[in-house]
Symmetry: C2
Subunit: 391 residues, 2 copies
């Protein structure tokens, strides 16, 4: 007789196949067959020679994508939030001061994470769709004297791509490190980590890179590494401790890589492939493509009578477009109709922009005029079929 | 002219195909085609209806594999170390007392993690290959009055499967939670979370479950949840905060799942498939298979004149076997020879057992007499061909 008191669950005793969906939300975006196939290759050990070679390729690919020569460049074994925690946990000790620019959900999250580890957190805040002028940033840095300044490059909740030029200088003049979240923009909007004086930057695998979610490229400047090596306390997380991670990724002076954690080997295969596609395409071509496709989309939206949430064209994020939620409609009905009728994901707002916008992502592989035509058609049809009140 | 100063890396401009290797180290183990294929299915959103259904299936599968009815049962979006941190970060507040049983590397790691968050850490320690009698545990619990007692079920560094019976009662009599690491044993050696009074347990995806590394099943008893809901401070990590994770996995009373982080959707597909295979096989059949195959292996080893590191048969971990490193040989030459000649991974020791043992994993799909025959042949050949000094 079986000693088991919990029987095998019936739901697992039948297959659950997944069908293709056009993923035009703020991510994950569709994974091209080439990347899925890479991820399905035979598993190797997390410290096998070939795996280490693949990790070295990933490092080079991230250095290219970030435009950096930083030695400490690697992928965190987790989603974007793990990379955000990795940056904050390693840079800040309890009592350290951090200034966080909040123009959407990512700044809010960064503040929450920094508060949990006992950092002194100050914020500057704009309304949804806003950004910070360099003068405002300089004033705040001067006032709060932070050790780290956090800024979101591509604020996917509001559709803003934040200007970066000059901010690195402001930070460095004030002995402050410049930390940039480029999860939603990297590969789709120009950014030059070294030239723009960014000290720490991270992104996610599942946006422009088109790999499955679960790994997060990150890079630390020499200046950032110095702050970390001068810490008086160990970072709060062993799993995200940069001295261990840097060793695992061969970014330190040691000749032997110690066992830290079991890296997600299959996810590394996918990430390598996605960086290979970016290297083949060319980063500048990718930026150009995202810009052109986004402008084509924006023109189509305006021709339909829809309004873009971000007024200033230069501030529009080329990867995720925010559209003013059409007056008189329930946005949920629109996204639901498009999902049901067209099997296309588009999404509503998030945080500050919840209920205010619709969001459409056109990232990497998905950034094409064909996809724009599809989503414009779906939107036009939804506006015809969904309930509209008089406004 | 391109604005890029870092060119595309040459290493990414050519393919890097991976060939099959027989993975008989302590993990990751080989991923069957059925699981790889599941992981390569089209990506969906981390909050899409089908994804939520898959997550529900995973929950049921973990409840089955753990033999628990715990409502708060889910998979962490990271490797086993993330699950270890998830358990410790959520259970302990700064100043809370924890008792850690160290009979290999996992206890050491747990102690390191608990120290980093400012817990009061006490340990009981055995030599490599040892275990703790219930009387010793009771004495230590009585002495240190911990809020949590940590024990490794399958200590893969020494090859010991730790007895579990009676320890839950000792803990509960003393108002202490029982936390078990079953990364290397779950599915391969009997354990009954509810019946044995385990309050928190976690495992990894890449051992007996044969999914790629990167997700980690975890479960919390009502008693553990109560400790968490009575916390005075927030857990140190937002990414691993159980109140957010429980909501994301539909384990709380809320009807809406909030956006917490982007779950590794593809890895969830693989994990679901691996739990489906376990449900089809039957947990008790899986335990039986691992036991039989391990005993067949151990017999073969002894017939070759090799010595098992763990003397007591009842304490031998059926998933990872430790063999006394053959006297007169350099263990590195043996593992290197077997890798090079047979394309089979076996490994050396780790932590306490480094230099002392060879380790062979036979987990899930890899637990078969055919694989035993292969590795025995490879070992016999290695002992013939590798250098031997007179001893």
């Amino acid at each position: 007789m079986s000693s088991l008191s919990i029987p095998p669950p019936a739901c697992l005793l039948q297959p659950f196949p997944i069908t293709q969906r056009l993923m035009l939300g703020p991510g994950p975006s569709n994974v091209p067959a080439r990347i899925s196939a890479a991820g399905a290759q035979p598993i190797l050990g997390h410290l096998h020679t070939e795996t280490i070679e693949i990790m070295n390729h990933i490092k080079s690919g991230i250095q290219y994508a970030f435009q950096t020569r930083n030695r400490v460049t690697l992928a965190v074994s987790g989603p974007g939030h793990a990379a955000m925690e990795c940056a904050i946990f390693n840079l800040l000790e309890p009592g350290d001061s951090v200034l966080i620019a909040v123009n959407g959900i990512w700044g809010e999250r960064a503040a929450e994470i920094a508060e949990r580890i006992g950092a002194k957190v100050n914020t500057i805040v704009t309304s949804a769709g806003g950004y910070f002028k360099n003068e405002e940033i300089e004033k705040a840095v001067d006032k709060y004297r932070p050790m780290v300044f956090f800024l979101t490059h591509g604020e996917s909740s509001t559709g803003v791509v934040h200007p970066i030029d000059g901010i690195g200088d402001i930070c460095h003049k004030n002995n402050c490190l410049f930390l940039v979240d480029s999860v939603a923009a990297l590969g789709g909007a120009p950014i030059y980590m070294d030239k723009q004086g960014i000290d720490i930057m991270y992104t996610g695998s599942q946006k422009v890179l088109n790999a499955p979610p679960g790994t997060a490229p990150i890079s630390f400047s020499e200046r950032a590494c110095k702050k970390i090596s001068n810490r008086k306390t160990k970072p709060i997380s062993f799993f995200l401790d940069m001295s261990w991670l840097a060793n695992y990724w061969g970014c330190d002076d040691k000749t032997v890589r110690a066992y830290h954690h079991t890296g997600p080997v299959s996810a590394f295969y996918s990430l390598r492939e996605s960086l290979a596609i970016l290297a083949e395409t060319g980063l500048d071509n990718s930026w150009k493509q995202h810009k052109e496709v986004a402008e084509y989309f924006h023109k189509g939206l305006e021709e339909m009578g829809l309004k873009l949430f971000v007024q200033d064209k230069k501030l529009r994020l080329p990867t995720v477009t925010t559209i003013v939620a059409p007056p008189g409609y329930d946005w949920r009905e629109i996204t639901g109709y498009i999902m049901k009728t067209y099997n296309i994901e588009i999404s509503g707002g998030l945080g500050l922009s919840a209920g205010v916008v619709l969001r459409v992502g056109l990232m990497g592989y998905n950034s094409s005029k064909t996809n724009v035509d599809k989503v414009l058609e779906a939107l036009a049809d939804a506006l015809k079929h969904c309930h509209k009140s008089r406004v």
